[in-house]
């Protein structure tokens, strides 16, 4: 530590400390403290209404999470979370790789194409949710129209078998641009000579992709997988807008925190069991942490092998 700290050039250290710790205080009180207190709250019978005494009840909330009464719902949400995160990460990765290789070719107007793919990042879940509700409107939306040419129809988000797949699709649509940007940066750092050398050695287009592009993109792939998994495991705002807070077919863990803690309606029902909701938060947090550690290990190993 002392080696990185250079001689301090300014006459006084206290202004540095004052502004630094002022910023840190705000960050702590409103950011770090609530995050840390989730763990504490998960061991209490905290309720939404103010003025009710709060008692420590040990691991009752966790026991309740795994109890017969809740297990079905929770396993369902757990399964949805994992399917949603797994499928959206994998498809997003594959799609982003395809699009970025495409947009890395010297095409006319490619800056514009890149902008278009990246645009959903600014639109936000509410707008995106409404746009796709309109696209998948069961009575006469474009998707319904296409199905009608084949003589069938669908309730889309209203169909429990289809809803999760559609939410996953919209999630991919919304965030694939970020992966594309990361891949494009990776692709541009691959020296052109490598491709030329590979062509001279007689490598075909596919071989060049597999033997030059993919190995050299390994860091971008790692970044994208991690970003995708963490983002998808914690994403629930889109689900909330598309299918509502308590739709069993698309229920995910982080949305359950909201439903359990706030009853799914705007701040008015304050008698919910928030200790239990905090316990769900912790279960999810541990799950995300475990998945991140495992994927990171795997990807690092893979990167080292290549």
């Amino acid at each position: 530590m002392a080696s990185t700290a250079s001689p301090f050039p300014f006459p006084h250290r206290f202004p540095v400390r004052i502004s630094f710790f002022a910023g840190f205080a705000v960050l702590t009180v409103f950011g770090l403290v609530p995050a840390a207190l989730v763990l504490v709250a998960s061991f209490t019978d905290l309720r939404g209404l103010p003025g009710i005494p709060v008692n420590f009840i040990g691991i009752d909330n966790y026991r309740s999470f795994f109890s017969a009464a809740h297990l079905d719902d929770n396993l369902n949400a757990l399964k949805n979370t994992l399917v949603f995160a797994g499928v959206s990460t994998v498809v997003q990765l594959a799609l982003a790789l395809g699009i970025s290789v495409l947009l890395n070719r010297p095409l006319r107007g490619r800056a514009f194409y890149r902008s278009v793919v990246f645009m959903p990042t600014v639109l936000g879940v509410t707008v995106i949710g409404l746009v796709w509700s309109l696209m998948f409107n069961p009575s006469g939306g474009p998707a319904a129209k296409v199905l009608s040419w084949f003589g069938t129809d669908s309730a889309f988000f209203g169909d429990p078998k289809l809803a999760l797949a559609l939410v996953t699709f919209v999630q991919i649509w919304a965030v694939v641009g970020v992966s594309v940007i990361i891949f494009l940066a990776g692709l541009q750092s691959i020296p052109e000579e490598l491709y030329e050398a590979a062509s001279i050695d007689g490598a075909s287009g596919w071989k060049r992709f597999r033997l030059v592009t993919l190995p050299l993109l390994a860091p971008s792939i790692t970044a994208n997988v991690l970003l995708g998994v963490v983002n998808a495991m914690q994403s629930y705002q889109l689900t909330y807008v598309l299918t509502g807070p308590s739709n069993k077919a698309t229920q995910v863990l982080s949305l359950m925190v909201y439903v359990q803690g706030f009853g799914g309606t705007s701040g008015t029902t304050l008698s919910q069991s928030q200790g239990y909701a905090a316990a769900i938060s912790m279960v999810q947090f541990v799950l995300v942490g475990a998945i991140v550690v495992v994927t990171m290990r795997y990807l690092r190993k893979r990167e080292a092998r290549l």
């Binding site: 950011g31 939404g48 509410t126 746009v131 803690g261």
Partner: protein, 297 residues
């Protein structure tokens, strides 16, 4: 154009020396390849643009026209959808709220990135490694809806504009990490020269570092601003009074009331989306920098 020459890497290099004469022989496969490329690009464009164009198309339809012709191109544009949606949905006050929350929240977050990121990057504060770990930690916090709500409740900041602003303000994300990474590109000699001339730390930070680091700070600000502008769950949980709702909650509520009048609803969605799409043209560069900077960090 120069684009054609650089694609030659895709064709066998042995063909290029004779390519000028035997152009007729080597061209067709290449041209077919290009057609495929542009077809793929067209498919991507349709996937990303069609939903928005369809939204705009729907926004111009009256209820009657939507009922008789929900998918086709609009016949008689019903422009009054926009003014109706605007006044019925009370979007004026929602937009003002959103502007306030976004400007103040992202301002707080960027300020935190500045006052914390600079001394950590320079080693002017003890425990550099620990602080860097804190900057990374803020990216991986658990879902704290419950405790955020309880904290504001106990501080009497529930259903309070300031409370919500503080909560979204500390959602700094990659800001401090990004900014401290940028600071290392500013020459250290500048600090020493300024100090030698008797410039104090604060004056230095706000009148020298701030303008020099403007691109990085703008990136931090915009990344957080986009997040706050689109935030809906915290606003639903922390605010109860509809006059304080941001535009996202307003739009969601509008959907609840006018859910079956798609023309009106699409117009309302477009009202919310249009500033984002227009603003996007100007902030895209910063967003891309932010994403790439975050990955490096």
């Amino acid at each position: 154009m120069s684009t054609l020459t650089s694609t030659s890497t895709a064709a066998a290099p042995a063909a290029t020396p004779s390519g000028r004469h035997a152009g007729g022989r080597t061209r067709p496969p290449r041209r077919r390849g290009r057609i495929w490329l542009y077809l793929c690009v067209a498919a991507v464009l349709v996937l990303f643009l069609f939903p928005l164009l369809f939204l705009a198309n729907t926004a111009l339809k009256s209820n009657a026209e939507f009922a008789s012709n929900p998918v086709g191109l609009v016949h008689s544009p019903h422009w009054s959808n926009f003014s109706q949606a605007w006044s019925k949905g009370n979007f004026g006050s929602y937009v003002l709220n959103s502007i306030l929350y976004t400007a103040a929240g992202a301002g707080i977050g960027t300020f935190i990135a500045l006052v914390m990121g600079f001394p950590v990057a320079r080693g002017y504060i003890r425990g550099g490694k620990v602080w860097r770990a804190v900057f990374a930690l803020v990216l991986f916090l658990p879902n704290a809806l419950i405790t955020q709500f309880q904290l504001l409740l106990r501080l009497h900041l529930y259903d309070n504009r300031l409370g919500y602003i503080l909560m979204v303000g500390v959602g700094v994300g990659v800001g401090p990490l990004l900014f401290s990474g940028f600071v290392s590109s500013l020459p250290r000699e500048l600090d020493e020269a300024a100090a030698m001339d008797g410039v104090g730390y604060w004056r230095y930070l706000f009148t020298f570092v701030l303008p020099l680091a403007r691109p990085a700070l703008v990136t931090c600000f915009i990344l957080q601003a986009v997040w706050i502008w689109n935030e809906i769950i915290l606003a639903t949980v922390l605010l109860a009074d509809p006059t304080k709702f941001p535009v996202t909650v307003g739009l969601y509520a509008f959907k609840g009331t006018y859910g079956n009048q798609w023309g009106l609803l699409a117009a309302a969605t477009l009202i919310v989306a249009a500033p984002l799409v227009i603003g996007y043209l100007f902030i895209q560069r910063y967003l891309v920098n932010g994403v790439l900077g975050a990955v490096k960090g």
